[in-house]
């Protein structure tokens, strides 16, 4: 018999969230200490700069249309540390509640029937960076993921927004153009998916993105959905993937290609390697810049510009 403080053993639901929830109106007078803990928000650019000034880091931008899997990639790279699938060691996160809030719809505690990632909204306070610190072979790296809605990239594609107006794009250490495997699996939607990616790459190039210091990649998401669609769909993607890869390499000769299945759901999919470890290794690969200088600690308005500091020099 377990050691309990009460006579009755409490029920334990499969997700552990049964009777333990605090009522929404629970009074908390003794918590008015004035010392707050973080909420489910991201980091601002100055906050991220503080982190980058202390240890090696990467600013990561997933560029893709809505529902292409941007948030899913970020949260699954985090969640893998909890489920034993990561080869890196979790070293911390200054946006832990934010990561948790975003992975929640993929957990049983959400009471959903299928895993899901909610639509990203642009934070009005510029808190659009998610942080994940990982350790590998004793070395720590801070990953700062841009948490930007697909609508922003739609605007770039349609020339409604210039890439130069998005500081995260010009500051990115790693820039990945995403293509949704679920859209590629259907002849009704695949050409639009490919066209989005091609036009996005072109608009970014017109706007001087990627910079010389940015490493780029073409990432297929939901590869399980594409695989399940069969040989013709795969053959179509292989042709288009080569074209898009060439387009990226025109800007970055070292541009890579990845196929990922962050959540393997499709029936009939034979996914032995979900590609996430390879993707993480690419994220951790050394960029071609020196670490950011420490962010200034003064409260002058110029220091609060919503722009990540540029590194001192490009090596």
């Amino acid at each position: 018999m377990a050691e309990f403080g009460e006579d009755q053993r409490p029920d334990q639901a499969a997700d552990g969230a049964g009777d333990d929830q605090v009522p929404a109106d629970a009074p908390f007078p003794q918590y008015e200490s004035g010392a707050l803990l973080r909420g489910p928000e991201g980091l601002t650019a100055p906050e991220a700069s503080q982190i980058l000034g202390t240890a090696p880091g990467r600013v990561v931008v997933w560029a893709g249309e809505r529902r292409s899997g941007k948030t899913t990639l970020t949260v699954e790279l985090y969640e893998r540390h909890r489920t034993g699938r990561a080869t890196t060691t979790f070293a911390g996160s200054q946006t832990l509640p934010a990561l948790e809030a975003r992975i929640h719809p993929a957990r049983a505690a959400s009471l959903r029937l299928q895993p899901h990632s909610e639509r990203t909204e642009l934070d009005p306070d510029g808190r659009n960076l998610l942080h994940l610190a990982v350790s590998q072979e004793g070395s720590r790296c801070h990953l700062l993921f841009a948490d930007v809605p697909g609508e922003v990239f739609r605007q770039v594609r349609d020339s409604e927004t210039e890439p130069s107006e998005l500081p995260l794009l010009t500051r990115a250490d790693k820039l990945a153009v995403l293509v949704d495997g679920e859209l590629l699996a259907s002849t009704d939607t695949r050409s639009a998916a490919v066209s989005f990616a091609r036009q996005l790459v072109a608009r970014l190039a017109d706007g001087g993105v990627p910079r010389r210091s940015t490493q780029t990649a073409l990432v297929l998401t939901k590869a399980d959905k594409l695989t399940a669609a069969g040989g013709e769909a795969l053959a179509y993607w292989e042709r288009k993937e080569a074209d898009l890869h060439d387009a990226l390499r025109a800007q970055d000769p070292a541009a890579c290609v990845f196929r990922t299945a962050a959540r393997v759901l499709a029936e009939g999919a034979d996914i032995r390697d979900d590609g996430m470890e390879t993707l993480m290794n690419w994220l951790l690969d050394e960029p071609t810049v020196t670490p950011d200088p420490p962010a200034p600690t003064s409260s002058q308005p110029a220091d609060r510009l919503a722009r990540l500091q540029r590194p001192k020099a490009v090596t």
């Binding site: 050691e3 908390f28 918590y31 029937l113 899901h116 350790s135």
Partner: protein
């Protein structure tokens, strides 16, 4: 040395405190001796009485927190004052949920030089993926439920390992100085399946993965050691005369991270070993 017992409710903090005191008061430990009392221990002796009668320890309510203050001598001869405010898990739970520090808990942590961090195998919120629930439901896979999230996210829904990492990180942000030693105590170790997990270390790496990794990666700020403890010693319902005939402090047992036998006081000894004598 001020030590804070940290853990969500019903994770075995009060039970461990009673078991520890029972061993100290009855000269049951080779590595740690009780030299003197700095505060009343009536509630600990009440707990010992309940253990002797094979009854569970009553849960600590926040308003009834009674501190433990003892003077201890290690087997190396050094003396330490040990102060443990046996804080109920409610303060920690409320802090995590409201995203505001419980005033008393934060004050204790700011003065703490060591943490006893409790986890209980039956109180873990594992944070299982949706697919786990799917496997339980028989029949064809359910249709997509669109964008609906029937239960919205709140901080108390974070899995147990995440909540513990969250609190450790927030402690540092709130000004708790590091390094601070952490003894991770897995309560009720007797109920853990010994065939599946042969040591607290392997159990933590699998069941409380994020905490285990965080402590490993941040060993400079949180030097830590893991222990599995059993204060009851066994199932209270077991009809074992030999077991019943033992004094409650003789029933207790503990293992270190590798699963090797140690004294119940070992987690405290670990914390004291990094502290200067007082």
């Amino acid at each position: 040395m001020r030590v804070v017992m940290l853990g969500f409710r019903e994770t075995g903090k009060s039970t461990y405190a009673v078991g520890l005191y029972g061993g100290l008061a009855n000269a049951g430990f080779a590595t740690l001796k009780l030299v003197g009392l700095l505060d009343a221990v009536g509630f600990l002796n009440e707990g010992l009485g309940r253990l002797a009668a094979r009854q569970p320890i009553l849960r600590t309510v926040d308003e009834q927190v009674e501190p433990i203050a003892l003077t201890l001598r290690t087997d190396g001869g050094s003396e330490h004052e040990l102060h443990i405010p046996d804080r109920s898990g409610e303060a920690l739970r409320g802090t995590s949920y409201s995203r505001q520090w419980h005033r008393g808990l934060l004050d204790e942590l700011l003065e703490a030089r060591g943490l006893l961090l409790f986890v209980h195998p039956l109180q873990l919120r594992p944070g299982e993926p949706v697919e786990t629930a799917q496997k339980i439901v028989q029949g064809p896979p359910p249709a997509d439920d669109g964008d609906d999230v029937p239960r919205r996210w709140t901080p108390d829904l974070m899995p147990s390992d995440v909540q513990m990492v969250d609190i450790l990180q927030e402690m540092v942000e709130a000004g708790v100085s590091t390094p601070i030693r952490v003894a991770v105590v897995v309560s009720a170790w007797d109920i853990v399946d010994g065939e599946e997990w042969d040591s607290p270390s392997s159990w933590l790496k699998e069941r409380v993965a994020l905490l285990a990794q965080f402590l490993e990666a941040n060993a400079d700020r949180f030097p830590s050691a893991a222990f599995g403890v059993s204060v009851q010693g066994s199932d209270f319902t077991a009809d074992d005369a030999t077991f019943r005939e033992k004094d409650p402090w003789e029933r207790t047992w503990a293992v270190d991270a590798a699963g090797d036998a140690v004294e119940l006081a070992a987690p405290v000894s670990f914390l004291l070993s990094g502290s200067a004598p007082e």
